[in-house]
């Protein structure tokens, strides 16, 4: 079998030589190895401050998109919740009132939309299920927090802002996917 690293060794059940039976030289050898590691570069990534580089197709923190007029795309059809294998998504639907046409694109919208980030497995099935191009997974990490309740993300943390500078770009992954497919 081909080995994954070049460090593999064939185990031989031979008798120990005299030097090996003395233990101490072998122990000294082992201690030199650990001493070398003491000064090696550390592999730890201090997460909240440092971030691991991610692939262009990496899926993270969800966003609920607005259209070019700033209206929410989501119509609370519930297909994402049905598609979700981790059952992380819940929502409450509401009817659009007259005068709210600039906020919601269609007559029905989600008054409450919650994703439990501790349940979510970031599979992206919600994104695939969505017929309105409302939900996308982005390349942002879910921020760290201390309480479980704080990981249930409502619309305040999911819906993108109306202003152009607050819009969240979801084209990176789509482009990467297109590149892989072509």
């Amino acid at each position: 079998m081909q080995s994954l690293t070049n460090r593999s060794k064939v185990v031989v059940n031979k008798k120990m030589s005299f030097m090996e039976k003395l233990y101490l030289p072998e122990i000294a050898k082992g201690m030199m190895i650990t001493l070398k590691h003491l000064f090696k570069k550390k592999v730890t990534i201090k997460y909240p401050e440092q971030k691991r580089p991610v692939a262009p197709v990496w899926r993270g923190w969800h966003v609920l998109k607005r259209d070019e007029l700033g209206r929410e795309n989501c119509t609370a059809c519930g297909l994402c919740a049905v598609a979700c294998p981790a059952e992380a998504i819940t929502m409450t639907a509401a009817e659009r009132k007259p005068g709210e046409e600039n906020l919601y694109r269609e007559e029905k919208y989600a008054s409450v939309y919650e994703i439990n980030m501790l349940r979510c497995i970031f599979c992206g099935l919600c994104e695939e299920a969505c017929p309105k191009e409302a939900i996308f997974l982005t390349d942002r990490n879910v921020p760290v927090d201390l309480l479980r309740d704080d990981f249930i993300f409502g619309k305040d943390k999911l819906v993108e802002g109306i202003e152009p500078e607050k819009r969240i770009d979801v084209s990176v992954r789509a482009r990467a996917h297109r590149q892989i497919e072509s």
Partner: protein, 346 residues
């Protein structure tokens, strides 16, 4: 005893106590850091800069934890176990010569709590009582894993104490005194005993690892076989005492090794510098602590390098290797001493 001397002693006792607790506290931090670095990790770095407050956080955690005394345990003995362990761990620092002496207003103050003329024996006696801490704790828990851990601990300690005692006998034959201060003063400059007793030092070092229950001899608390060993049933600060006592023991045995074999507060190449007595004494204390820290590091270094012995290997090493070797060491020392006294004529 004069009042000034009494006050000095009281201050010194408190200082030694505080320093050994502080060093034991930061040994836990050092242990985690060294372990991490040897495994290419960073280790605790969240509490304060570089995680320097981590021992405090651990201490607070230990105190805040729920205290459980199992209903089937013997309550009095259950509490006595960790108390005894902690007591004996703190008691051994008494006879260690931390430094030479300070001259204040023409009066000499020895930097040692008490210079008992049987200092080594005192340490051995106290360390042996420490075994009872483990034994009582393991027995009182009324749990088979605890009991097995305690039995392992006591048999291991008894086996290795013999070889350790033999190593010391060779040393005592050479120095002709049991007082630790005398032994240190005899090693002035760089006449350290390790150069005259290399085999004895090696035996003593290995036995010190076994006595403090450190890897590769940490079978009493072998997690893979015995859950937690003798402290399986312990929680909260009682567990903390057991773990803490181990670190104090490590500190004290490092100090004993440095005293007996590495010249204690002696340092080479300073006698010619013409420094005053007090400066030399303070430098000596610093140097002594440097030696201690090196040995604490050695303890940790070995722990994160070598896997644990199997029980039969442990006993083989103790009885079939260490004890014969130490007897040979005693004989060799005796022969050399006789030869030097001119009792042989070739």
């Amino acid at each position: 005893m004069e009042y000034s001397e009494l006050i000095f002693k009281i201050i010194f006792v408190i200082a030694v106590f505080a320093v050994s607790l502080l060093i034991a506290m930061y040994s836990t931090y050092a242990e985690r850091k060294i372990a991490a670095f040897m495994q290419d990790r960073i280790g605790p770095d969240r509490a304060g800069p570089f995680g320097i407050l981590q021992p405090l956080a651990d201490g607070v955690k230990m105190f805040m934890k729920e205290e459980i005394i199992p209903s089937h345990a013997d309550k009095a003995l259950f509490i006595l176990g960790p108390s005894l362990m902690m007591l004996t761990a703190c008691m051994t620092g008494v006879v260690i010569p931390w430094g030479n002496s300070l001259l204040i207003n023409g009066r000499e103050y020895i930097l040692q709590i008490t210079d008992v003329n049987i200092g080594i024996l005192y340490i051995f006696a106290v360390v042996s009582i420490g075994v009872y801490g483990i034994m009582i704790g393991g027995w009182a828990s009324n749990n088979k894993y605890s009991l097995l851990g305690a039995i392992r601990a006591s048999s291991q300690m008894i086996s290795y104490e013999l070889a350790m005692g033999m190593a010391i006998i060779a040393l005592v034959m050479m120095t002709g005194t049991l007082s630790l201060r005398e032994i240190v003063l005899q090693q002035h400059g760089a006449h350290w005993n390790v150069f005259y007793q290399p085999l004895g030092f090696l035996i003593f070092l290995v036995c010190a690892f076994a006595e403090t229950n450190r890897t590769p001899f940490d079978l009493p608390e072998c997690e893979t076989e015995l859950v937690g060993g003798y402290h399986t049933e312990y929680s909260s600060m009682k567990l903390g005492f057991y773990l803490f006592a181990e670190y104090i023991n490590m500190f004290i045995s490092s100090a004993v090794i440095a005293t007996l074999y590495f010249g204690g507060f002696n340092m080479p190449f300073v006698s010619g510098l013409g420094l005053s007595h007090n400066t030399l004494a303070i430098l000596g204390v610093v140097f002594f602590f440097a030696k201690i820290f090196f040995f604490i590091f050695l303890f940790m270094w070995v722990r994160w390098t070598i896997p644990r012995f199997r029980y039969d290997q442990l006993m083989n090493l103790g009885w079939k290797v260490m004890i014969p070797l130490s007897i040979v060491n005693v004989l060799l020392t005796g022969l050399v001493l006789l030869w030097r006294h001119g009792l042989f004529h070739f």
